[in-house]
Symmetry: C2
Subunit: 551 residues, 2 copies
């Protein structure tokens, strides 16, 4: 076994596929000083996705569903980075510099691609801007904060229609993740609503959109019916044969034209292959990398792929593996064995694995399960769910923390604190459908808008004549600058004539850019002059007259 | 007691002063249907600041130091808003709209100002851009994430000087908060360092800067010495007679000219009165609102002030009250009684309170305390600290959670997950001292820079001649656009000639603005043409030739 050269193994991806491959390789190469293991992951932790809905409900601590990767594979060098480029021809992967001095270039002898898939809202107007994904821990926290924020607002909202929209929560997708999210969200909402003075649980509308005619197509009909019954009993409004078309900041838009006014739209449906994979010269099937029975990429010896991003055929059944954690973990072990076999010149094995079963949580003490052909539902399935996933949760300390969380959850009320950690998100994209109001006469002007696509109309209230059209605005035009400069309220209402995309800048971003960069200063000065006549504009951007300006 | 008109009481501020005033008023007016209580707070929770350093160390859960305000004062209407304006003449407070329909205008009969103070780095160059404050929960989380991020980077950093800077942690301020933060930070660092493959505790430098000649000027010398001894034994390098002058992204700058290379600078020193208070027509003393012995603002009957933002003289001693939670809580109770007395036409009482004592945590099982004139230090003081603050922590559920956290902390290892929730912070401000590198030839170009103040130099490496000055850049000029458009590496190094402030935009912000807004597109096209000769520039911002462009 004496080797003279080092073997460099680089693993890309910090999900189950990547991390379990590193764990398998650490085990296979225990004490082997000639093997360098490197893992590149966007986060320094592994997210235990089955428990993500529990973070939303607050029944376990925020950090308890994630395990530090360094603890799981202590002998692997971890790069907490987003992979920038993969160069299969030169056996090299690059990652950007962080606080440190330089760009990283990692050379490999073996490369394991475990990049999974990403959330993609392409093709659905407004979803990228306004839908909330639910895939990683950041998404769960963002959704939780968002929900608390709309409840805060609903509690003090005087307009009944706006209040109803604030208290409407829409989840799109009736598969496992959609059902688990809507169950957790519904439980959480109904529990916390009682802490708000002016909200009762009866005010809440929680809607689940499902394109097909039943929930959970992955499970037998009996279990799907059971899940449907539980959710409906707990107040979830399930809409079958209903598909999401798009979204605006104020509504979910359904295929067929219906408009559901809401401020909270969660979409669990869309996932797309990692864009890094799309750029590789490898054979793919539905965006997933095709591998041979040893999980190696044909034509690229030493390059392997596992997990949701790999197209793996089971050696026994010949069927493609579904994108589940169970399969990713087994593939990771197999690839670990096969890399070790390659390094040592011994025989590789073909991948084969039959799924053990499926489990879906329905929130408060209920679940559905199919294990080894046996169908279970209700409290028994829920206990099984908790025991199985507690067992699978990596790391003893996490198990203890989650168990403690569950115990405390039995006796303590849920948390209703809204955790804001964002410091300065100053530029955002927005999507509007025709006839939506972008800003309203009389409101304070805290945003500058730049039109990317579509056409808008500027209306102003004229005494004795009502609202009158002033002019139209198109792509590249911008509005709202005068209210920013003068601090006066908007003196016109801007409405979309067609579907429109805009970029909105807040006061900080406006101040930073438009007072510093000469072409922008001149642009704003010209714009204001054309509306107001000549006026002085200081670098401080806080002067101006602004009487009756149409913004 | 039959009253015909309603009494509207509005409280501004969600710290101890504001929340305890609401609690006191709920108690005084129990069952009184004619009193409307409203509290406006930026967050929907009260932060229990004494335990904030424990969040940093991870010994208690992230959410356990905060208590939902709705739980503490369930009969008060909570507006989770930043106050926009206070109009004392018209008895009105305004707050911006959230997701809801409109701007809020709140009229009051009694107004309690409990706005506290804010972090302010005015007058210290680079601190606003690069120093980390430590005042609220967001700050504690941001610091924790930042520290984990630099450890991640140090673990894979090949350059020894950069690595040393990454592993240097500077805290400015040797008062209570500085000492508590440095103690918690030091404990945390030394505990987690062992999970990083290439970092040992001996590599860490933790430095505390103190302007005076001793720590904790609030406490007797003996206790300060004790604290100093504990911190030094645990590896903290304490620099007396040392004052912070400013900061850059890569160093803390000391008065006298010394430069401490670091990526982590925590400043606990600066706090300034809330800017809303500065705009009020009331008498202030050092920015704090002067009140009479009943805590009412002279000249404005029905307007009261409590907490850190109020200048209160103790009725017994005549001395001004220090800005502590103890005092804020007692003032809140007094103002609650006095508002009730005013409404009911009974006698008010003058505020008087003698502080019970002072406690300071030194991290791992050590503290200093002075209570009723008795001085305590070490483990006894630490037990006292935990028991007293556990008792003061509002809410039984929090007490249970914190106790559980402390118990788990005894047996489980600390968390080393880095929690990123920021989605898109795309514009940032940076400060440079003379002769700093802003971008380096050969690096990838991920930022566009706009100069706000100062002068920069563009250098390029010329074969056989070394680095040569190409030209100078001044305020309003921008650079880095070509690397953004062409995706080529930087072909020049830009260095500050004088102290300089710049705005940096990332690729997303650049793409959104510079391809949408015509004056900016023209500006970038002109800029590139002047450097490269004519070239096509598509709206997609991904084209261009960029050979040898000086950016």
């Amino acid at each position: 076994m004496a080797q003279t050269t080092r073997t460099r193994i680089v693993i890309l991806g910090g999900g189950f596929g990547g991390v379990y491959t590193a764990m398998a390789l650490e085990k296979r190469f225990r004490g082997a000083a000639h093997v360098d293991l490197t893992l590149v992951s966007k986060e320094n932790y592994l997210v235990f996705q089955p428990m993500l809905p529990e973070v939303l409900a607050g029944s376990i601590g925020l950090l308890d569903v994630i395990t530090p990767i360094r603890r799981l594979c202590p002998r692997t060098t971890l790069y907490t980075r987003t992979v920038e480029a993969i160069d299969l021809a030169n056996h090299r992967v690059t990652a950007p510099a962080g606080f440190g001095s330089q760009h990283y270039s990692l050379e490999y002898d073996h490369l394991v691609l475990a990049l999974g898939n990403v959330t993609s809202f392409a093709g659905q107007p407004g979803l990228r801007e306004h839908a909330l994904p639910f895939k990683n821990l950041g998404d769960a926290l963002a959704l939780r904060n968002h929900v608390l924020h709309v409840l805060e607002d609903a509690d003090i909202e005087p307009d009944p229609a706006v209040r109803q929209a604030l208290l409407t929560f829409v989840v799109a997708g009736g598969g496992f993740s959609g059902v688990e999210v809507v169950a957790a969200l519904n439980d959480f909402l109904r529990q916390v609503a009682k802490h708000f003075r002016h909200i009762t649980p009866a005010d809440l509308r929680v809607i689940l959109l499902q394109a097909g005619e039943r929930l959970l197509p992955e499970l037998p009909t009996r279990l799907a019916r059971f899940a449907q019954g539980i959710l409906e009993k707990r107040g979830v409004d399930i809409r079958f044969h209903t598909r999401l078309h798009g979204a605006t900041a104020e509504a979910a838009l359904l295929v067929g034209g219906e408009r559901l006014p809401t401020r909270t739209l969660v979409s669990t449906v869309p996932s797309a292959p990692n864009p890094l994979v799309a750029g590789l010269p490898v054979v793919t099937e539905r965006g997933r990398i095709v591998v041979n029975e040893h999980l190696e990429v044909p034509g690229y010896p030493g390059v392997w792929a596992v997990g949701d991003g790999a197209w793996v055929r089971d050696a026994t059944t010949g069927a493609p593996c579904p994108p589940t954690a169970q399969h990713a973990i087994r593939q990771a072990r197999c690839v670990g064995e096969n890399i070790a076999a390659t390094v040592r010149g011994t025989a590789r094995r073909a991948f084969a694995f039959t799924a053990l079963g499926q489990l879906g949580s329905l929130g408060h003490r209920s679940a559905v399960a199919e294990i080894g052909g046996v169908q279970l539902s209700g409290c028994v399935a829920w206990w099984l769910w908790r025991m199985i996933y507690l067992g699978k949760l990596p790391g003893l300390d996490r198990k203890v923390r989650v168990m403690t969380g569950w115990l405390l959850d039995l006796v303590l009320p849920p948390d209703i604190v809204q955790l804001k950690t964002d410091r300065a998100c100053t530029i955002r994209r927005e999507h509007y459908e025709p006839q939506q109001v972008i800003c309203r006469e009389g409101d304070p002007g805290d945003w500058l808008y730049i039109i990317v696509a579509g056409e808008l109309e500027v209306h102003r209230h004229v005494p004795d004549q009502g609202e009158r059209l002033q002019r139209r605005l198109g792509p590249g035009e911008c509005f709202g600058e005068i209210a920013m400069v003068t601090h006066h309220p908007r003196t016109a209402t801007v409405r979309s004539r067609t579907a429109a995309d805009v970029i909105a800048l807040d006061r900080d971003a406006f101040g930073a850019l438009f007072t510093t960069l000469p072409p922008l200063r001149h642009f704003v000065e010209q714009l204001m002059t054309s509306h107001l006549g000549p006026l002085p504009l200081d670098a401080g951007a806080a002067v101006g007259t602004g009487h009756g300006a149409p913004h």
